[in-house]
């Protein structure tokens, strides 16, 4: 079965973006927003959903005295994403 948490279009793009980065690499919220082309509120809500599901981690700190939010994919997130992609491929190949 597809992961309902991952399959929503914006969250799917977030997961694909983070999955393409090296393991443990943190991506700034503002850069993710540019890549996904989402608004602050929309992106924040989807990140909260993914974080609550344990698929990503959100780190908040300060850089040059400015608040900074960075996100990274967790190990569980990579596994869930890989399984979701595999599920999608199975459907295309007629196995799903």
């Amino acid at each position: 079965m597809p992961s309902d948490v991952i399959h929503q279009q914006t969250r799917l793009r977030i997961m694909a973006t983070l999955n393409a980065l090296p393991d443990g690499e943190l991506l700034e919220f503002t850069r993710l927003k540019d890549i996904i082309k989402a608004t602050d509120g929309n992106l924040g809500a989807h990140l909260a959903t993914l974080e609550n599901a344990g698929l990503i981690s959100v780190t908040k700190d300060f850089a040059s005295k400015k608040p900074r939010t960075r996100v990274a994919m967790t190990r569980a997130g990579r596994k869930a994403f890989a399984e979701h992609v595999s599920y999608l491929r199975d459907i295309l190949e007629g196995k799903g």
């Binding site: 079965m1 597809p2 399959h7 279009q9 799917l12 793009r13 694909a16 973006t17 983070l18 999955n19 393409a20 980065l21 090296p22 393991d23 443990g24 690499e25 943190l26 850069r31 540019d34 890549i35 996904i36 780190t59 960075r70 990274a72 992609v85 999608l88 491929r89 459907i91 295309l92 007629g94 799903g96």
Partner: protein, 183 residues
Amino acid sequence: MPLSPQDAAAALHDIEQAEQRSVRLHGYRQGSPHLILWGVLWAVGYGLTDLWPAHAPTIWAIVVPTGIVGGFIILRAARSGAKRVDVWRYCAVATTLGAFFSATFYVMGPVSGRQVSAFIPLFVATVYALASVWLGWRYAIAGVALAILTLAGFALLGRHFPLWMAGVGGGALVLAGLWLRRI
């Protein structure tokens, strides 16, 4: 609800697009500070070489290790929170490049300082052009611009070719780094 093959194909297309964009922007972001660092070092190194050509080996014996150490620091800072930087890989790349240039100049020698000053930027330009295959077309622009400027200076300028490389070569790298950073 199960997905249709059309839904699955659309989702996989979305994933591929997002991953490609992520890899490209990540590559730009990672390369930007290195371009700026080497642009500044080239400006300093070539500028001093133009002023004191006899001391070029000493100047570059300081500039190049400074760049290698600086590049390592940038790499480590960029990967904070991620896996540690593989020191041995970084050292292996630096050593291989050093060995390549030494061997090349030995085989092609005797080479003048002017030839060395042109060859290394042309090699760097080639690396950027090749990197563009994986990291995005902007690296190709940076590589082609650097190669053209280097060849133009080499062909048209004599004694003050290092000054040209300081201003135009170093400047081109800094501008390319800033350009990648803005994306």
